[in-house]
Protein backbone atom coordinates (compact mmCIF):
# COMPACT_ATOMS: atom_id res chain seq x y z
CA UNK A 1 0.00 0.00 0.00
CA UNK A 2 1.12 3.51 -0.77
CA UNK A 3 0.64 5.95 2.11
CA UNK A 4 1.11 9.71 2.30
CA UNK A 5 1.68 9.92 6.05
CA UNK A 6 2.65 7.79 9.05
CA UNK A 7 -0.76 8.36 10.61
CA UNK A 8 -2.52 7.17 7.47
CA UNK A 9 -0.30 4.07 7.41
CA UNK A 10 -0.95 3.12 11.00
CA UNK A 11 -4.63 4.09 10.79
CA UNK A 12 -5.09 1.88 7.71
CA UNK A 13 -3.86 -1.18 9.59
CA UNK A 14 -5.67 -0.19 12.79
CA UNK A 15 -8.91 -0.64 10.86
CA UNK A 16 -7.92 -3.95 9.31
CA UNK A 17 -5.73 -5.71 11.84
CA UNK A 18 -7.72 -5.52 15.02
CA UNK A 19 -5.96 -8.00 17.25
CA UNK A 20 -2.46 -8.67 15.91
CA UNK A 21 0.48 -6.63 17.15
CA UNK A 22 1.95 -3.53 15.54
CA UNK A 23 4.87 -3.21 17.95
CA UNK A 24 6.43 -5.90 20.11
CA UNK A 25 8.79 -4.77 22.84
CA UNK A 26 10.38 -5.81 26.10
CA UNK A 27 8.71 -4.41 29.18
CA UNK A 28 9.56 -6.91 31.86
CA UNK A 29 8.77 -9.60 29.28
CA UNK A 30 7.46 -9.66 25.74
CA UNK A 31 4.60 -7.17 25.38
CA UNK A 32 2.85 -5.68 22.39
CA UNK A 33 0.59 -2.93 21.13
CA UNK A 34 -1.97 -3.33 18.39
CA UNK A 35 -2.10 -0.82 15.55
CA UNK A 36 -5.09 0.75 17.26
CA UNK A 37 -3.16 1.19 20.51
CA UNK A 38 -0.16 2.59 18.68
CA UNK A 39 -2.36 5.08 16.85
CA UNK A 40 -4.01 6.17 20.08
CA UNK A 41 -0.64 6.77 21.78
CA UNK A 42 0.61 8.74 18.78
CA UNK A 43 -2.48 10.94 18.71
CA UNK A 44 -2.37 11.61 22.45
CA UNK A 45 1.28 12.52 22.32
CA UNK A 46 0.79 14.67 19.21
CA UNK A 47 -1.87 16.61 21.05
CA UNK A 48 0.55 17.32 23.90
CA UNK A 49 3.28 18.36 21.49
CA UNK A 50 0.94 20.73 19.69
CA UNK A 51 0.06 22.32 22.99
CA UNK A 52 3.76 22.62 23.86
CA UNK A 53 4.33 25.24 21.18
CA UNK A 54 7.73 23.97 20.05
CA UNK A 55 8.76 23.83 16.42
CA UNK A 56 11.76 21.50 16.06
CA UNK A 57 12.45 18.40 18.12
CA UNK A 58 15.79 16.63 18.32
CA UNK A 59 15.22 12.94 18.94
CA UNK A 60 18.09 11.20 20.71
CA UNK A 61 16.92 7.94 19.23
CA UNK A 62 17.16 4.92 21.51
CA UNK A 63 14.91 2.61 19.47
CA UNK A 64 12.37 2.20 22.24
CA UNK A 65 8.59 2.07 21.91
CA UNK A 66 8.30 5.59 23.31
CA UNK A 67 10.91 6.80 20.83
CA UNK A 68 8.80 5.45 17.95
CA UNK A 69 5.71 7.16 19.32
CA UNK A 70 7.60 10.44 19.77
CA UNK A 71 8.84 10.47 16.18
CA UNK A 72 5.41 9.77 14.68
CA UNK A 73 3.67 12.14 17.09
CA UNK A 74 6.09 14.98 16.44
CA UNK A 75 5.55 14.67 12.70
CA UNK A 76 1.78 14.53 13.19
CA UNK A 77 2.01 17.64 15.37
CA UNK A 78 3.79 19.54 12.61
CA UNK A 79 7.23 19.74 14.22
CA UNK A 80 10.47 19.48 12.32
CA UNK A 81 12.13 16.27 13.51
CA UNK A 82 15.90 15.86 13.74
CA UNK A 83 17.21 12.34 14.27
CA UNK A 84 20.29 12.42 16.49
CA UNK A 85 22.63 9.64 17.59
CA UNK A 86 22.54 9.51 21.36
CA UNK A 87 26.00 7.93 21.49
CA UNK A 88 27.68 10.82 19.62
CA UNK A 89 30.01 13.10 21.61
CA UNK A 90 28.12 15.83 23.45
CA UNK A 91 30.08 18.67 21.90
CA UNK A 92 29.17 17.43 18.45
CA UNK A 93 25.52 17.04 19.43
CA UNK A 94 25.47 20.64 20.64
CA UNK A 95 26.75 21.86 17.28
CA UNK A 96 24.19 19.79 15.40
CA UNK A 97 21.37 21.08 17.59
CA UNK A 98 22.34 24.64 16.67
CA UNK A 99 22.79 23.77 12.99
CA UNK A 100 19.34 22.18 12.70
CA UNK A 101 17.42 24.74 14.82
CA UNK A 102 16.32 22.29 17.50
CA UNK A 103 14.24 23.94 20.23
CA UNK A 104 13.27 20.87 22.25
CA UNK A 105 14.79 17.45 22.86
CA UNK A 106 13.52 13.95 23.49
CA UNK A 107 15.68 11.20 24.94
CA UNK A 108 17.66 10.28 28.02
CA UNK A 109 16.81 12.87 30.69
CA UNK A 110 20.38 13.49 31.83
CA UNK A 111 21.66 13.90 28.29
CA UNK A 112 18.77 16.22 27.36
CA UNK A 113 19.56 18.37 30.35
CA UNK A 114 23.24 18.57 29.46
CA UNK A 115 22.42 19.53 25.89
CA UNK A 116 19.63 21.98 26.70
CA UNK A 117 21.85 25.13 26.76
CA UNK A 118 22.39 24.59 23.03
CA UNK A 119 18.68 24.76 22.20
CA UNK A 120 17.67 27.44 19.71
CA UNK A 121 14.65 29.62 19.02
CA UNK A 122 13.32 27.01 16.61
CA UNK A 123 12.23 27.14 13.02
CA UNK A 124 9.27 28.56 11.10
CA UNK A 125 8.85 26.24 8.14
CA UNK A 126 9.80 22.82 9.51
CA UNK A 127 6.45 21.02 9.34
CA UNK A 128 6.68 17.46 8.00
CA UNK A 129 10.45 17.65 7.60
CA UNK A 130 12.50 14.81 9.05
CA UNK A 131 16.24 15.31 9.09
CA UNK A 132 18.64 12.39 9.00
CA UNK A 133 22.38 12.81 9.02
CA UNK A 134 24.42 11.26 6.26
CA UNK A 135 26.63 8.49 7.68
CA UNK A 136 25.23 8.94 11.16
CA UNK A 137 26.22 11.80 13.38
CA UNK A 138 29.76 12.81 12.50
CA UNK A 139 31.71 16.05 12.39
CA UNK A 140 30.94 17.01 8.79
CA UNK A 141 27.69 15.09 8.47
CA UNK A 142 25.08 16.90 6.47
CA UNK A 143 21.47 16.88 7.56
CA UNK A 144 19.35 15.47 4.76
CA UNK A 145 15.84 16.88 4.58
CA UNK A 146 13.30 14.11 4.04
CA UNK A 147 9.55 14.08 4.58
CA UNK A 148 7.09 11.54 5.91
CA UNK A 149 5.82 11.23 2.36
CA UNK A 150 9.26 10.40 0.98
CA UNK A 151 9.88 7.90 3.79
CA UNK A 152 6.44 6.29 3.28
CA UNK A 153 7.20 6.03 -0.44
CA UNK A 154 10.49 4.37 0.30
CA UNK A 155 8.74 1.85 2.56
CA UNK A 156 6.21 1.24 -0.23
CA UNK A 157 9.04 0.57 -2.68
CA UNK A 158 10.59 -1.95 -0.30
CA UNK A 159 7.25 -3.63 0.30
CA UNK A 160 6.57 -3.91 -3.42
CA UNK A 161 9.84 -5.74 -3.98
CA UNK A 162 9.91 -7.68 -0.72
CA UNK A 163 6.37 -7.92 0.64
CA UNK A 164 5.82 -8.85 4.26
CA UNK A 165 2.47 -10.16 5.48
CA UNK A 166 0.52 -9.11 8.58
CA UNK A 167 1.58 -12.44 10.10
CA UNK A 168 5.28 -11.56 9.79
CA UNK A 169 7.43 -10.14 12.55
CA UNK A 170 10.19 -7.76 11.45
CA UNK A 171 12.98 -7.36 13.97
CA UNK A 172 14.25 -3.81 14.19
CA UNK A 173 17.86 -4.04 15.37
CA UNK A 174 19.35 -0.99 13.72
CA UNK A 175 19.42 2.55 15.06
CA UNK A 176 16.34 4.54 14.08
CA UNK A 177 18.57 7.57 13.61
CA UNK A 178 19.96 5.92 10.49
CA UNK A 179 17.59 6.09 7.52
CA UNK A 180 18.15 2.42 6.64
CA UNK A 181 17.20 1.44 10.19
CA UNK A 182 14.16 3.71 10.17
CA UNK A 183 12.78 2.62 6.81
CA UNK A 184 13.87 -1.00 6.60
CA UNK A 185 13.72 -1.77 10.32
CA UNK A 186 10.45 -0.03 11.10
CA UNK A 187 8.42 1.50 8.25
CA UNK A 188 8.78 -1.48 5.91
CA UNK A 189 7.05 -3.66 8.51
CA UNK A 190 4.36 -1.14 9.45
CA UNK A 191 3.49 -0.37 5.84
CA UNK A 192 2.82 -4.09 5.28
CA UNK A 193 0.79 -4.49 8.47
CA UNK A 194 3.42 -6.76 10.00
CA UNK A 195 4.50 -6.69 13.63
CA UNK A 196 7.70 -4.79 14.31
CA UNK A 197 9.76 -6.12 17.20
CA UNK A 198 11.85 -3.34 18.70
CA UNK A 199 15.34 -4.64 19.43
CA UNK A 200 16.68 -3.96 22.91
CA UNK A 201 19.91 -2.27 21.88
CA UNK A 202 23.47 -3.37 21.34
CA UNK A 203 23.58 -5.37 24.58
CA UNK A 204 20.97 -7.73 23.14
CA UNK A 205 22.22 -8.21 19.59
CA UNK A 206 23.07 -11.74 20.66
CA UNK A 207 19.70 -12.78 22.04
CA UNK A 208 17.07 -10.58 20.36
CA UNK A 209 16.35 -13.19 17.68
CA UNK A 210 15.65 -15.82 20.33
CA UNK A 211 13.56 -13.36 22.37
CA UNK A 212 11.39 -11.93 19.59
CA UNK A 213 11.38 -14.88 17.13
CA UNK A 214 11.21 -12.70 14.01
CA UNK A 215 10.49 -13.93 10.50
CA UNK A 216 12.45 -11.05 8.91
CA UNK A 217 15.27 -8.76 9.93
CA UNK A 218 17.21 -5.86 8.43
CA UNK A 219 20.91 -5.75 9.20
CA UNK A 220 24.17 -4.12 8.23
CA UNK A 221 26.92 -6.48 7.05
CA UNK A 222 28.81 -6.37 10.36
CA UNK A 223 25.72 -7.44 12.28
CA UNK A 224 24.93 -10.19 9.79
CA UNK A 225 28.44 -11.58 10.29
CA UNK A 226 28.00 -11.49 14.05
CA UNK A 227 24.65 -13.29 13.94
CA UNK A 228 25.82 -15.95 11.52
CA UNK A 229 29.23 -16.70 13.04
CA UNK A 230 27.67 -17.25 16.42
CA UNK A 231 24.54 -18.92 15.07
CA UNK A 232 22.27 -16.46 16.83
CA UNK A 233 19.40 -16.52 14.35
CA UNK A 234 16.12 -18.23 15.26
CA UNK A 235 14.62 -21.16 13.31
CA UNK A 236 11.62 -19.11 12.15
CA UNK A 237 13.73 -16.41 10.53
CA UNK A 238 13.31 -16.63 6.75
CA UNK A 239 14.27 -13.26 5.27
CA UNK A 240 17.33 -11.10 5.87
CA UNK A 241 17.64 -7.70 4.23
CA UNK A 242 21.24 -6.47 4.16
CA UNK A 243 22.08 -2.88 3.41
CA UNK A 244 24.04 0.25 4.21
CA UNK A 245 27.42 -1.18 3.36
CA UNK A 246 29.46 -3.51 1.22
CA UNK A 247 28.79 -7.11 2.07
CA UNK A 248 31.34 -9.87 1.46
CA UNK A 249 29.98 -12.56 -0.86
CA UNK A 250 31.12 -15.24 1.61
CA UNK A 251 28.78 -13.82 4.21
CA UNK A 252 25.79 -13.91 1.90
CA UNK A 253 26.77 -17.45 0.90
CA UNK A 254 26.90 -18.51 4.55
CA UNK A 255 23.45 -17.06 5.15
CA UNK A 256 22.03 -18.87 2.14
CA UNK A 257 23.63 -22.10 3.32
CA UNK A 258 21.71 -21.72 6.57
CA UNK A 259 18.47 -21.60 4.62
CA UNK A 260 17.99 -17.85 4.92
CA UNK A 261 16.70 -15.86 2.01
CA UNK A 262 19.07 -12.94 1.70
CA UNK A 263 18.31 -9.73 -0.14
CA UNK A 264 20.73 -6.92 -0.61
CA UNK A 265 19.60 -3.32 -0.82
CA UNK A 266 21.22 -0.24 -2.27
CA UNK A 267 20.20 3.27 -1.37
CA UNK A 268 21.31 6.50 0.22
CA UNK A 269 20.04 8.76 2.93
CA UNK A 270 19.40 11.23 0.09
CA UNK A 271 16.90 8.78 -1.48
CA UNK A 272 15.08 7.99 1.79
CA UNK A 273 16.82 4.57 1.84
CA UNK A 274 16.64 1.80 -0.80
CA UNK A 275 16.25 2.33 -4.53
CA UNK A 276 17.29 -1.14 -5.67
CA UNK A 277 16.89 -4.54 -4.02
CA UNK A 278 17.85 -8.05 -5.00
CA UNK A 279 14.80 -10.22 -4.90
CA UNK A 280 15.91 -13.67 -5.99
CA UNK A 281 19.02 -15.40 -7.31
CA UNK A 282 22.28 -13.47 -7.14
CA UNK A 283 22.00 -11.21 -4.05
CA UNK A 284 24.23 -8.62 -5.70
CA UNK A 285 22.00 -8.28 -8.78
CA UNK A 286 19.42 -5.72 -7.76
CA UNK A 287 16.08 -4.83 -9.29
CA UNK A 288 15.14 -1.17 -9.40
CA UNK A 289 12.31 -0.16 -7.07
CA UNK A 290 9.02 0.96 -8.69
CA UNK A 291 9.32 4.70 -8.02
CA UNK A 292 12.96 4.96 -9.07
CA UNK A 293 14.76 5.38 -12.35
CA UNK A 294 18.46 4.63 -12.44
CA UNK A 295 20.84 5.45 -15.27
CA UNK A 296 24.59 5.44 -15.53
CA UNK A 297 26.77 8.40 -16.45
CA UNK A 298 29.55 7.90 -18.99
CA UNK A 299 32.03 7.12 -16.24
CA UNK A 300 29.64 4.60 -14.66
CA UNK A 301 28.35 6.87 -11.90
CA UNK A 302 24.90 5.87 -10.68
CA UNK A 303 22.33 8.59 -11.31
CA UNK A 304 18.96 8.38 -9.59
CA UNK A 305 15.64 9.96 -10.40
CA UNK A 306 13.09 9.29 -7.70
CA UNK A 307 10.57 12.11 -7.44
CA UNK A 308 8.69 10.50 -4.55
CA UNK A 309 11.71 9.55 -2.46
CA UNK A 310 14.45 12.04 -3.18
CA UNK A 311 15.55 14.50 -0.50
CA UNK A 312 14.46 18.11 -0.50
CA UNK A 313 18.13 18.99 -0.07
CA UNK A 314 20.83 19.30 2.57
CA UNK A 315 19.61 21.45 5.42
CA UNK A 316 20.84 25.04 5.00
CA UNK A 317 23.51 23.94 2.52
CA UNK A 318 22.25 24.93 -0.93
CA UNK A 319 25.67 24.70 -2.54
CA UNK A 320 26.14 21.12 -1.34
CA UNK A 321 22.64 20.28 -2.58
CA UNK A 322 23.28 21.84 -5.97
CA UNK A 323 26.47 19.82 -6.34
CA UNK A 324 24.69 16.47 -6.19
CA UNK A 325 21.07 17.17 -7.13
CA UNK A 326 21.09 18.46 -10.69
CA UNK A 327 17.76 18.92 -12.49
CA UNK A 328 16.13 16.44 -10.13
CA UNK A 329 18.79 13.80 -10.73
CA UNK A 330 20.90 12.65 -7.80
CA UNK A 331 24.56 12.12 -8.64
CA UNK A 332 25.44 9.42 -6.13
CA UNK A 333 29.20 9.17 -6.46
CA UNK A 334 28.79 5.38 -6.55
CA UNK A 335 29.78 3.38 -9.59
CA UNK A 336 27.67 0.62 -11.06
CA UNK A 337 26.80 -1.48 -14.08
CA UNK A 338 23.70 -3.18 -15.44
CA UNK A 339 23.75 -6.88 -16.31
CA UNK A 340 21.96 -8.44 -19.29
CA UNK A 341 18.73 -8.66 -17.31
CA UNK A 342 18.87 -4.97 -16.44
CA UNK A 343 19.80 -5.57 -12.83
CA UNK A 344 22.08 -3.16 -11.05
CA UNK A 345 25.46 -4.17 -9.62
CA UNK A 346 27.55 -1.81 -7.49
CA UNK A 347 31.15 -1.79 -8.66
CA UNK A 348 32.87 0.89 -6.60
CA UNK A 349 32.97 4.46 -5.46
CA UNK A 350 33.91 7.65 -7.19
CA UNK A 351 33.75 9.70 -4.02
CA UNK A 352 36.58 9.95 -1.49
CA UNK A 353 34.65 7.87 0.95
CA UNK A 354 34.79 4.49 2.65
CA UNK A 355 31.59 2.66 3.52
CA UNK A 356 32.20 0.57 6.63
CA UNK A 357 30.54 -2.75 7.45
CA UNK A 358 28.56 -1.14 10.27
CA UNK A 359 26.83 1.07 7.71
CA UNK A 360 28.64 4.29 8.61
CA UNK A 361 30.82 6.23 6.19
CA UNK A 362 34.25 7.76 6.45
CA UNK A 363 34.73 10.93 4.43
CA UNK A 364 38.41 10.56 3.73
CA UNK A 365 39.54 14.14 3.04
CA UNK A 366 38.04 15.26 6.35
CA UNK A 367 39.27 12.20 8.25
CA UNK A 368 42.76 12.35 6.80
CA UNK A 369 43.03 16.11 7.39
CA UNK A 370 42.33 15.42 11.05
CA UNK A 371 45.09 12.80 11.17
CA UNK A 372 47.52 15.04 9.24
CA UNK A 373 46.95 17.88 11.67
CA UNK A 374 47.61 15.65 14.67
CA UNK A 375 50.69 14.08 13.14
CA UNK A 376 52.17 17.02 11.24
CA UNK A 377 52.65 14.68 8.28
CA UNK A 378 50.81 14.88 4.95
CA UNK A 379 52.00 11.71 3.23
CA UNK A 380 49.27 9.49 4.55
CA UNK A 381 46.00 7.94 3.43
CA UNK A 382 43.34 5.68 4.87
CA UNK A 383 42.28 2.45 3.20
CA UNK A 384 40.14 -0.52 4.18
CA UNK A 385 41.94 -3.69 5.22
CA UNK A 386 39.88 -6.67 6.36
CA UNK A 387 36.91 -4.29 6.32
CA UNK A 388 38.51 -1.97 8.89
CA UNK A 389 40.14 1.45 8.38
CA UNK A 390 43.92 1.34 8.32
CA UNK A 391 46.36 4.21 7.96
CA UNK A 392 48.95 4.03 5.22
CA UNK A 393 51.95 6.16 6.26
CA UNK A 394 54.57 6.96 3.67
CA UNK A 395 58.02 7.63 5.14
CA UNK A 396 59.81 6.68 8.30
CA UNK A 397 57.69 5.96 11.32
CA UNK A 398 56.81 3.49 14.05
CA UNK A 399 53.23 2.20 13.87
CA UNK A 400 52.78 2.07 17.64
CA UNK A 401 54.06 5.61 18.12
CA UNK A 402 51.83 6.90 15.31
CA UNK A 403 48.77 5.27 16.85
CA UNK A 404 49.64 6.63 20.27
CA UNK A 405 49.81 10.17 18.89
CA UNK A 406 46.52 9.73 17.09
CA UNK A 407 44.57 8.39 20.00
CA UNK A 408 43.39 11.80 21.33
CA UNK A 409 41.90 12.72 17.95
CA UNK A 410 40.23 9.39 17.22
CA UNK A 411 38.99 8.20 20.61
CA UNK A 412 35.67 10.03 20.31
CA UNK A 413 34.84 8.33 17.02
CA UNK A 414 32.54 5.33 16.84
CA UNK A 415 34.58 2.18 17.40
CA UNK A 416 34.17 1.02 13.80
CA UNK A 417 35.70 4.28 12.55
CA UNK A 418 38.77 4.10 14.75
CA UNK A 419 41.97 3.00 13.05
CA UNK A 420 42.71 -0.71 13.23
CA UNK A 421 46.38 -0.35 12.34
CA UNK A 422 49.17 1.50 10.55
CA UNK A 423 51.05 0.32 7.50
CA UNK A 424 54.39 2.07 7.01
CA UNK A 425 55.59 2.19 3.40
CA UNK A 426 58.74 3.63 1.88
CA UNK A 427 57.29 4.53 -1.51
CA UNK A 428 55.43 7.79 -2.06
CA UNK A 429 51.66 7.50 -2.23
CA UNK A 430 50.29 7.15 -5.78
CA UNK A 431 48.81 10.48 -6.88
CA UNK A 432 47.15 12.02 -9.91
CA UNK A 433 48.72 14.87 -11.84
CA UNK A 434 46.73 17.28 -9.67
CA UNK A 435 48.04 15.70 -6.46
CA UNK A 436 44.96 13.72 -5.46
CA UNK A 437 45.60 10.28 -4.03
CA UNK A 438 44.80 7.44 -6.42
CA UNK A 439 42.80 5.53 -3.87
CA UNK A 440 41.93 2.51 -5.98
CA UNK A 441 45.57 2.05 -6.91
CA UNK A 442 46.68 2.39 -3.31
CA UNK A 443 44.03 -0.04 -2.12
CA UNK A 444 45.03 -2.61 -4.76
CA UNK A 445 48.72 -2.15 -3.95
CA UNK A 446 48.23 -2.62 -0.23
CA UNK A 447 46.02 -5.66 -0.76
CA UNK A 448 48.72 -7.20 -2.93
Amino acid sequence: MRFQSFEEMIGFWAERKKSGPALIFDEGGRKSWTYEELLRHIRERAEALRAGGKSCIGILADGSRDCVVEIFAAVAAGLQVVMLDESAPEELLRRLIVYTDVDTLWGDDDLCEELSPALTAGVKDGAKKILFFTSGTTEQAKAVVLTEQSLCSSAYNGGEKLPLSPEDTLLCLLPLGHVFGFVCGLLWGLSCGAAVALGRGARHYGDDCAFFEPTAVSVVPLLLGFLLQRRLTNPGLKLVLVGAGDCPAALLGAAAAMGLRVSFGYGLTETSSGVAISVRGDPFAMEICPDDRITLAEDGEILIEAPTCIMQGYYKRPADTAAVLIDGVLHTGDLGRFDKEGKLHITGRKKDMLVLPDGTKLYLPEYEARLMKALGHTELAVILKNSRPVLVWSGEGEPEEILRRLRPVTEDLPRGQQLAGVLVVNDPLPRTATGKIKRWELQRKMEA
Binding site: G201, A202, R203, G206, L222, F226, S387, R415, L419
Partner: protein, 83 residues
Protein backbone atom coordinates in the same frame (compact mmCIF):
# COMPACT_ATOMS: atom_id res chain seq x y z
CA UNK B 1 38.08 -7.50 43.90
CA UNK B 2 41.41 -5.88 43.12
CA UNK B 3 42.50 -4.50 39.76
CA UNK B 4 44.67 -7.47 38.90
CA UNK B 5 41.77 -9.85 39.45
CA UNK B 6 39.53 -7.65 37.30
CA UNK B 7 42.12 -7.69 34.50
CA UNK B 8 42.40 -11.48 34.77
CA UNK B 9 38.63 -11.79 34.45
CA UNK B 10 38.64 -9.48 31.42
CA UNK B 11 41.30 -11.61 29.77
CA UNK B 12 39.34 -14.78 30.52
CA UNK B 13 36.24 -13.30 28.89
CA UNK B 14 38.26 -12.23 25.84
CA UNK B 15 39.84 -15.68 25.52
CA UNK B 16 36.41 -17.31 25.82
CA UNK B 17 34.97 -15.08 23.13
CA UNK B 18 38.04 -15.17 20.88
CA UNK B 19 39.91 -18.46 21.33
CA UNK B 20 42.41 -17.37 18.65
CA UNK B 21 43.78 -14.82 21.11
CA UNK B 22 44.66 -17.39 23.79
CA UNK B 23 48.37 -17.07 23.09
CA UNK B 24 48.30 -13.28 22.88
CA UNK B 25 50.11 -11.28 25.53
CA UNK B 26 47.29 -9.05 26.73
CA UNK B 27 48.38 -6.26 29.05
CA UNK B 28 46.85 -3.11 30.59
CA UNK B 29 48.18 -1.01 27.72
CA UNK B 30 47.02 -3.33 24.95
CA UNK B 31 44.86 -1.31 22.56
CA UNK B 32 41.80 -3.41 21.81
CA UNK B 33 41.07 -1.93 18.40
CA UNK B 34 44.56 -2.25 16.95
CA UNK B 35 46.43 -4.95 18.86
CA UNK B 36 43.73 -7.58 18.85
CA UNK B 37 41.48 -8.71 16.03
CA UNK B 38 38.38 -7.70 17.96
CA UNK B 39 36.03 -5.59 15.84
CA UNK B 40 33.23 -3.36 17.14
CA UNK B 41 30.70 -6.21 17.34
CA UNK B 42 33.21 -8.39 19.14
CA UNK B 43 33.86 -5.58 21.58
CA UNK B 44 30.14 -5.29 22.36
CA UNK B 45 30.12 -9.02 23.06
CA UNK B 46 33.04 -8.68 25.49
CA UNK B 47 31.43 -5.75 27.30
CA UNK B 48 28.09 -7.55 27.60
CA UNK B 49 29.79 -10.65 29.02
CA UNK B 50 31.68 -8.52 31.52
CA UNK B 51 28.49 -6.73 32.54
CA UNK B 52 26.79 -10.03 33.12
CA UNK B 53 29.80 -11.54 34.93
CA UNK B 54 30.20 -8.62 37.32
CA UNK B 55 26.52 -7.69 37.54
CA UNK B 56 27.23 -4.13 36.38
CA UNK B 57 26.24 -1.72 33.62
CA UNK B 58 28.88 0.25 31.74
CA UNK B 59 27.05 3.21 30.13
CA UNK B 60 26.90 2.75 26.39
CA UNK B 61 28.06 6.29 25.76
CA UNK B 62 31.43 5.31 27.27
CA UNK B 63 32.04 2.26 25.08
CA UNK B 64 33.79 4.12 22.27
CA UNK B 65 36.25 5.61 24.72
CA UNK B 66 37.44 2.27 26.10
CA UNK B 67 40.61 2.04 24.10
CA UNK B 68 42.95 -0.19 26.11
CA UNK B 69 42.34 -3.14 28.40
CA UNK B 70 43.29 -0.79 31.23
CA UNK B 71 40.43 1.53 30.18
CA UNK B 72 38.05 -1.44 30.29
CA UNK B 73 39.34 -2.39 33.75
CA UNK B 74 38.81 1.23 34.90
CA UNK B 75 35.23 1.16 33.66
CA UNK B 76 34.54 -2.16 35.40
CA UNK B 77 36.14 -0.91 38.62
CA UNK B 78 34.09 2.29 38.53
CA UNK B 79 30.87 0.38 37.92
CA UNK B 80 31.67 -2.04 40.75
CA UNK B 81 32.17 0.87 43.13
CA UNK B 82 28.73 2.21 42.21
CA UNK B 83 27.04 -1.12 43.03
Amino acid sequence: MNREEILDQIKTVIFDCFPDLRDADLREETVVNTETAIDSMGFILVICKLESLFGIKIPQRQWNKLSTLGDVADAVQKALQKK
